[in-house]
């Protein structure tokens, strides 16, 4: 059967429930669960369970909403219908986020298996050997994937991983009495956390701008290096999907002035099983387990930034380290030069577990195949989108002609021709049942940008449908401008007023703040 997904458009309309905020649903006395009374034996041992905590008991009951189970269920189901998550749309839009499929069995294991859910992080390590074993074994796998010598899964995300690495760079130089190094070098198209988090950690940050090839020339990099360079923190391929082919030269030049090299592998889906931080000469790296290793992004967390190091940086790694003595797994806190903890307990173990499962499902060959398919999907899409009127591919004539797993596209020509830019196209996208796309970090180096990353998970049908929608919106911009001006037409919310969501006087992120700002409560 031949199918044409490129020119078949869904008659999509999103649900609109105008659902109240959960606090507004509260009815005094309504309840979702009756907490069972303690068994006699338990009561005999601890009494009512509350008197013993006399000093800790709140004077006033917390102002939690009181809602029946049925209404609560309806509430969240309605909210879920008003979102456009990975499970309902073709989630190619969120370039740099690597929105690949996260197998449901992972979620069932992490969220339901009593061996996981019933464990408390302060339990004696003797009683959580299974969890420690998974962490330990995942570390062995990550060592193989990167070629580096040690890993920690403590950081709760990519930015925290970069912060951890910046802290280790400082600890390393300080341990050698080298106190003048206060600069970190990064690039414009690296993830912004490569600039922001070292800055938060106290470093001066030097950013290299791309040339016409899409990545900074080595001469610019050499101009930035000095005896004050503490380290470089670089993403490769960058968010343009362009792999800097001279990365080894950068690393060697940085080492020549005594700096450390940290590899941000947020875009590792492009080279998993193909290239390694070790061979590129890096001293440390990080992977986003919630991207490359399929553990889902969970609305700003939980996530895991797995940080990896060469042998000589081991003394500075976060504590505790999970170690194995041949028969038992244990936690090693005996690291006097450690930078300490970057997150409580062992980090987000659920994410490590999901990643471990995903790796074991794929095997070494499977990981490599995932990277190959993601690059193939991207290049297939590239050929289709290049033909869409109004689309421009920047850096198409330089070395960066070939792209790996994503592309930072531009609607520059569309804007010149029709006046509609990337924001206008984005508004219309959701009318086809596709989540708005990610434009670019600020500032827009590529004008009118949009960044697409198709990953290995999407089928040819999916890619065709996605490209077809963009082609249709382009056609509308040229031929039916009124449709674009009024978009989105089929979503629960019309245009969001950006000025208002940026206004600190108006935004409220908690119910209490909302009441205050609305003048409903003093």
């Amino acid at each position: 059967m031949s199918r044409d997904r490129y020119s078949r458009f869904r008659k999509f309309h999103q649900a609109k429930w105008d659902e109240e905020i959960i606090f507004e649903l509260s009815v005094p006395g309504e309840r979702g669960v009756l907490v069972p009374k303690a068994e006699k034996e338990v009561a005999a041992a601890v009494g009512d369970g509350v008197s013993a905590l006399a000093g800790l008991k709140r004077k006033k009951a917390p102002a939690l909403p009181e809602i029946s189970q049925m209404r609560l269920n309806r509430h969240y189901l309605r909210l879920s219908q008003e979102t456009m998550g990975t499970d309902v749309n073709i989630d190619i839009s969120q370039g740099t986020c690597t929105m690949k499929y996260s197998p449901k069995v992972q979620e069932h294991m992490a969220a339901r298996h009593p061996g996981i859910t019933e464990v408390h992080p302060l339990q004696d390590p003797e009683t959580m050997q299974g969890i420690l074993e998974i962490i330990y074994k995942t570390e062995q796998i990550m060592k193989e994937i990167s070629g580096l010598d040690y890993f920690s899964f403590q950081p709760g995300g990519g930015a925290q991983a970069v912060y951890t690495n910046a802290s280790i760079i400082r600890a390393y130089h300080q341990s050698r009495g080298d106190l003048k190094r206060d600069e970190i070098i990064t690039t414009m198209f690296s993830h912004p956390c490569d600039a922001a988090t070292p800055n938060t950690a106290g470093f001066k940050v030097i950013t290299l701008m791309p040339d016409e090839n899409g990545f900074p020339p080595i001469e610019a990099f050499k101009a930035a290096l000095s005896e004050r360079t503490a380290g470089i923190m670089i993403t490769n391929p960058e968010d343009t999907g362009i792999y800097n082919p001279r990365i080894k030269e950068y690393v060697d030049a940085a080492h020549a002035v005594g700096a450390l090299c940290s590899y941000d592998q947020a875009n590792a889906n492009a080279f998993l099983g193909i290239a390694r931080a070790h061979e590129a000469g890096f001293d440390m790296c990080h992977f986003n387990m919630h991207k490359t290793f399929s553990a889902p992004h969970g609305c700003m967390g939980p996530a895991t930034g797995a940080v990896g190091y060469r042998e000589f940086l081991r003394p500075f790694m976060p504590v505790p380290r999970v170690e194995f003595d041949g028969s038992r797994y244990y936690l090693d806190y005996n690291c006097p030069q450690s930078i300490g903890k970057t997150r409580s307990f062992l980090g987000n173990f659920g994410v490590v577990l999901k990643s471990y499962m995903w790796i074991m499902q794929h095997g070494a060959e499977g990981l490599k195949e995932a990277a190959i398919c993601s690059v193939l999907n991207n290049n297939y899409m590239m050929q289709k989108l290049k033909k869409v009127p109004g689309v421009v591919m920047y850096y198409d004539f330089g070395v960066g002609k070939n792209r790996l797993e994503q592309v930072r596209w531009s609607w520059e020509k569309l804007q010149q021709d029709t006046g509609f830019g990337t924001t206008d196209v984005n508004m219309r996208l959701s009318d086809f049942g596709i989540q708005h796309y990610w434009t670019s970090h600020h500032p827009w180096v590529v004008p009118e940008p949009f960044t697409l990353e198709p990953c290995e998970s999407y089928s040819k049908d999916d890619l065709d449908e996605y490209c077809g929608v963009l082609a249709e919106i382009s056609r509308e911009c040229y031929e039916e401008p009124e449709v674009i001006k009024g978009a989105p037409h089929n979503g629960p919310t019309h245009r969001v007023k950006h000025m208002e969501i940026d206004d600190e006087e108006l935004i409220a992120v908690t119910w209490r703040q909302y009441l205050k700002k609305k003048g409903l409560k003093k």
Partner: protein
């Protein structure tokens, strides 16, 4: 109802197509016509006005007669209110100046003009430095050194429409620059920074969801803090003109010259608004550090608007003692072209070419190339 003043310099751009490097002066315009030049700016003005035509019922256009705006407004579908009088076919810079005065008197909320640097300069002359009326240029001239223009006629129309609708538009101070056309024709460039106009610009892109918002102004203040924190004792700091470098003087709480060069020593003012000779006398034989920013739409760090900082002064400081400051937005608007040096001394220009550590914010440095045009 919002009122939009529209001024078209009908002869702007005529010299360019026929290779005359500008259109200022009757003789040149005559020569341009003889060489077959056709008016460009009316067409560009119409293109911009057509975008605004969607607000036809909400906006009143105030225009000068005939080809100075009225014809273009009608062509775009407006029924403009005509003020002033001109001699059609023989318009002059004085007409532009009078048009601005008449439009301000008529209560214009904003002025949209089509022209080049000469036109921008005339508008600046008429408004003076104290005016806060927004002005936006539709690029139509041969010389586009000023930074008061939208990137093209259509976006000039878009930004104007957004401003008139009261939507998300920023106002920035943009340089008005002009070069001496006669000198230019003889192969010398002598650009002067005349002042700043308030220019609306559409910054909707700043609000891309993942990055959050970031104010260019906050960045510039961070830059000033970075410069001040790194100032060394007993070094003479030469602070070039511009709104970006102004923030350094404001940070130091010192009097400043927006369009001129100020000199600072040990965080105290040594001299304001110095000329080349005064500057040379101050820095001769001393430790000197020069702080300049990218001036104008093309991003000159030397040779435009800051000619007081001459080759001998730059040599006295040395390349390693030059700090360039610029916001990320500014550099991005110049990319991928380099920042420009044009000191009038070709050998020095070559020496000054290369990569600079541009201070963009607090502990925030960008590596960017400067070179020849």
């Amino acid at each position: 109802m919002k009122k939009l003043g529209v001024i078209v310099n009908p002869v702007a751009g005529m010299g360019g197509r026929v290779g005359l490097k500008g259109s200022d002066g009757d003789e040149i315009q005559k020569k341009a016509r003889e060489l077959g030049a056709k008016p460009e700016s009316p067409l560009r003005a119409i293109e911009a006005l057509k975008v605004i035509a969607r607000l036809k019922d909400q906006v009143e256009i105030i225009a000068y007669p005939h080809e100075m705006g009225a014809d273009e407004a009608r062509e775009a579908g407006f029924d403009p209110r005509i003020v002033g009088s001109i001699s059609s076919g023989a318009t002059s810079p004085e007409d532009t100046v009078r048009a601005v005065h008449d439009m301000v008197a008529a209560g214009a909320d904003m002025i949209l003009f089509a022209g080049g640097d000469g036109t921008a300069r005339n508008i600046y002359t008429a408004l003076g430095s104290g005016s806060d009326i927004p002005v936006l240029g539709i690029p139509a001239g041969v010389k586009i050194h000023s930074a008061v223009y939208a990137v093209n006629p259509r976006s000039a129309g878009e930004v104007t429409a957004l401003f008139l609708e009261g939507k998300a538009v920023n106002i920035r101070e943009a340089e008005v620059m002009d070069i001496d056309e006669e000198a230019f024709r003889e192969g010398r460039v002598s650009a002067q920074l005349y002042g700043y106009l308030n220019v609306p610009e559409n910054k909707k892109y700043v609000q891309s969801v993942k990055s959050g918002t970031r104010s260019e102004q906050a960045e510039i203040q961070g830059m000033a803090a970075e410069i001040v924190a790194n100032m060394k004792d007993d070094v003479i700091y030469v602070i070039g003109p511009g709104t970006t470098t102004r923030s350094i003087m404001q940070r130091l709480e010192l009097p400043y010259t927006l369009l001129g060069v100020d000199v600072v020593l040990n965080k105290q003012i040594l001299a304001n608004d110095v000329n080349e000779q005064q500057l040379y006398d101050l820095v001769k034989g001393k430790k000197v550090h020069i702080v300049v920013t990218a001036i104008g739409g093309q991003g000159h760090i030397f040779g435009r608007g800051n000619q007081q900082i001459s080759p001998r002064i730059i040599r006295a400081a040395g390349k390693e003692n030059i700090t360039v400051v610029a916001s990320r937005d500014k550099l991005t608007s110049i990319m991928p072209r380099p920042l420009l040096v044009d000191t009038g001394d070709p050998e020095l220009d070559r020496e000054l070419s290369g990569y600079y550590r541009i201070v963009a914010g607090w502990q925030d440095i960008l590596i960017y190339k400067a070179g020849l045009e």
